[in-house]
């Protein structure tokens, strides 16, 4: 070893925040206007990395939701459903272009509000969100080719409720196909991450979209419930927890409301002995620590074939130690802040359960900032299939590791979950990939990669991970009536 070893550290490289414009207070975006909530109540949205207040957000109640739905209905009946599809497309293209122009601002606000790293919001969230609008704008006047020999009609008013893990991207996933198919929208972002949806409302204003076509109502769960229960909503699109998904399904039972639900997951990432080991290790890291593990399709259950288990685990620990955890605004940060105090508590609770269950824990040797909500990348060894941490969705940077011997065994264990959102398969053998992709009960199966998203590719779950597909041509069917 070198005697007088020098160390070379990366100097801080913070992304500037001087160019963004944030209001102190945000009202509701209803019928093309910014209106104060009838509750007169506001709640604070904070930066989870610093615990500083970023802005005050309006708390919409049933009355406000009713106003929004009425505006959406009026816009649907009078304007949007009558407009030629090619004209609708122009508006959607315009939204995409305006977003692209202000991509940096969106990325910075997303990172401030959600705690995710600037690298991810800049390189993944925002470009993907723009691409969703571009992609679905292209479909607007070609629906008869998406559904050949069928008559395609829009549904009406879509109520959309989105989560906090990919705030802008989820808004794009929901709004773009709804508009392209001729529906109008009432969207509710999560209470911890309303800002980029409200920024999107500004763009929608700037794009000159007819009033009421897109309405954004902010608030908590009861605001979402008001959307779900509103009698004049034709369709509910929800992304979030399985528990809330079940509540929604109960609430709309017996009504003509259509629904697509994209819910939780406990996805299996499977490493075979012949896998490209170093790339697989990257895939495991990306699968579970991407966006601090706040990913519904996170590869949270790792299955490693016995022969390479020791090697993979050693490399995994090494790689975890090389991750930079900290200030999400620094361009060199790999792992940012946990989205909220509540979520951090949930993650800690599960880590404690893992310890109580007797699993062996390893955490990155990184230093965590003293302020803000952070959790070191964590893995658990010697986890049983019956362990709580291997069964329940943690939604944080916590990985469970199990080993397996045969293909049949791993298929059985991977499918032995109430969820079925995604899976990953790592092997050098093509035939094995196809064998597994047909047998794994998961909406998405990635081969030799993980957490890859594209607007042209459908996404959605089996079993309690939900139903309906978003993205691709499949993503249109949730918003149309075919006859």
């Amino acid at each position: 070893m070198a005697k007088d070893q020098t160390t070379w550290e990366y100097a801080p490289a913070p992304e500037g925040t001087g160019h963004i414009k944030l209001n102190k207070k945000y009202n509701l975006f209803i019928d093309g206007k910014w209106v104060a909530p009838s509750s007169k109540k506001y709640f604070e949205t904070i930066n989870p990395a610093t615990e500083e207040v970023l802005a005050e957000i309006a708390y919409a109640n049933e009355k406000d939701v009713d106003l929004a739905v009425k505006a959406a209905r009026k816009a649907y009946t009078n304007v949007w459903s009558k407009m030629p599809a090619s004209e609708r497309a122009k508006y959607i293209y315009r939204i995409a272009r305006l977003m692209q122009e202000r991509a940096r601002e969106f990325a910075v606000i997303e990172s401030l509000d959600a705690g995710k790293t600037i690298r991810e919001s800049r390189d993944i969230d925002v470009p993907l969100a723009c691409n969703h609008f571009f992609y679905y704008a292209g479909w607007a006047d070609k629906l008869e080719y998406a559904f050949p020999n069928r008559k395609v009609e829009s549904l009406g008013v879509a109520g959309q409720i989105i989560p906090w893990n990919f705030p802008l991207l989820m808004a794009a996933w929901k709004i773009a196909p709804a508009l392209a198919t001729g529906n109008t929208v009432v969207l509710k972002p999560s209470e911890t991450t309303s800002l980029t949806a409200l920024k999107l409302a500004e763009i929608i204003e700037e794009a000159g979209l007819p009033h009421g076509v897109v309405n954004i109502v902010t608030g908590y769960g009861d605001t979402g419930a008001a959307i779900v229960n509103h009698p004049d909503v034709n369709k509910i699109a929800f992304t979030g927890s399985t528990a809330v998904g079940k509540m929604i399904q109960k609430a709309i039972a017996g009504t003509p409301k259509k629904a697509t639900l994209e819910l939780g997951g406990k996805s299996a990432n499977i490493i075979f002995e012949d896998a490209p080991i170093d790339q697989a290790v990257e895939g495991i890291i990306n699968g579970i620590f991407f966006n601090q593990g706040h990913v519904c399709c996170a590869g949270s259950r790792l299955f490693v074939q016995e022969g390479v288990a020791e090697k993979v685990i050693r490399k995994l620990k090494q790689r975890m130690d090389s991750l930079y955890v900290g200030n999400p605004m620094d361009k060199n940060t790999d792992i940012g802040a946990i989205n909220s105090k509540k979520q951090l508590e949930t993650i800690k609770k599960y880590i404690q359960i893992g310890l109580d269950e007797g699993a062996e824990m390893y955490q990155s040797t990184c230093e965590l900032p003293s302020k803000g909500y952070y959790c070191a990348p964590t893995l658990f060894l010697d986890v049983a299939q019956s362990s709580v941490i291997a069964q329940e969705e943690i939604f944080g940077p916590v990985l469970t590791i199990q080993t397996f011997r045969t293909v049949d065994e791993v298929i059985q264990k991977a499918n032995n979950s109430p969820y079925g959102l995604a899976a990953g398969v790592w092997t050098d053998k093509g035939s094995r990939i196809f064998n597994l992709t047909t047998k794994l009960k998961a909406g998405v199966v990635w081969a030799n990669t993980y957490n890859k998203f594209d607007p042209t590719s459908p996404f959605g779950g089996y079993k309690e991970s939900g139903f309906g597909r978003e993205g691709g041509v499949h993503g249109l069917s949730g918003y149309v009536k075919l006859s």
């Binding site: 070893m1 070198a2 070893q5 990366y10 100097a11 490289a13 490209p276 790339q279």
Partner: protein
């Protein structure tokens, strides 16, 4: 230094390498933002890791002497700059270079084994190597027999490297894989493992005569081989990307990669080198820019 008895059968199976995954990983290194003092420190490290190279048929003693002077006086106007790590020349120029750089700490590296093609019998390669060492070379940069590797005679390649290692004596051995001719990353990985287990002190990407040369994908693959060997044995192996690294930015990205894969221990010219001829001036230009705030004309930097 290592005390291993080389045996082809002791090489563990090499892992497969997924090109798409490697490209993605490498792209991540390239998004690292290196600023201010890290940039200045990094650039100085780069200078100190360069093997200043001239490997042409038309090399003359005069040219080699000029390059040796530059190796020790990169830009005297700017005090506090390091020297480069070594000068790299053909065996016939070793004696001249050795005299020019004596007592400066700059090493003399010599290519050998019928560089760059390696198309010569082993006896010639050994003689070539011994001549260079006897002329004063501190380091030997050998080429592997790519033809034999590609036809699957991996044990031939292994034995040849082991034989050259023996001929090197105390000189450190860098083994050039000529990755541009090996084509696939799977081949690069296997060749790296063979070279390391056969006794290489350093593994090196390219001769500089074949394109592509030191791409980050190839260097990454070789660094992983070094990492695995270190984890297995505790023995450090050096890395030398050569050919195609001509800008400061690319050099810094390479350092980022070394740091994040192998750790800070490798960030010295004992374990990491750049084989380059035009890189030094670009780095000098960047270093001066951090001082003056403006780029100077390339006419202010000597060309050798």
């Amino acid at each position: 230094m290592s005390n291993k008895t080389p045996n082809f059968l002791t090489i563990p199976p090499s892992p497969t390498v997924d090109k798409v995954g490697v490209e993605e990983r490498v792209a991540r290194f390239q998004t690292r933002s290196i600023k201010n003092q890290s940039k200045e420190q990094g650039l100085k490290m780069v200078l100190n890791m360069i093997d200043l190279t001239t490997l042409e048929g038309k090399d003359t003693p005069g040219k080699v002497k000029q390059m040796c002077y530059k190796a020790q006086h990169l830009h005297d106007e700017f005090p506090g700059l390091p020297t480069v790590a070594a000068v790299c020349v053909y065996p016939s120029m070793v004696a001249i270079a050795k005299k020019e750089v004596q007592n400066s700490g700059v090493k003399v590296a010599s290519v050998s084994t019928a560089f760059p093609s390696g198309q010569a019998p082993l006896s010639v390669k050994i003689a070539d190597t011994k001549f260079a060492v006897e002329s004063g070379a501190d380091e030997i940069d050998m080429v592997i027999s790519r033809g034999k590797f590609l036809t699957g005679e991996h044990n031939f390649v292994f034995d040849e490297i082991a034989a050259i290692k023996e001929a090197c004596g105390v000189a450190r051995l860098k083994v050039i894989l000529e990755t541009g001719e090996l084509v696939t990353l799977d081949n690069v990985r296997r060749a790296s493992d063979i070279a390391i287990y056969a006794g290489a002190d350093f593994i090196k990407t390219s001769t500089g005569k074949i394109q592509p040369a030191a791409t980050m994908q190839v260097t990454y693959t070789m660094l992983m081989a070094i990492r695995d060997y270190f984890d297995e044995t505790g023995i450090m192996i050096g890395m030398k990307p050569a050919g195609g690294i001509s800008t400061s930015k690319l050099a810094l990205h390479n350092l980022v990669m070394v740091k994040e894969i192998l750790g800070d221990a490798w960030l010295t010219n004992e374990w990491f080198r750049f084989g380059a001829s035009s890189l030094a001036n670009d780095v000098l230009m960047q270093i001066l820019k951090t001082k003056t705030g403006v780029y100077q004309s390339s006419d202010y930097f000597s060309i050798d």
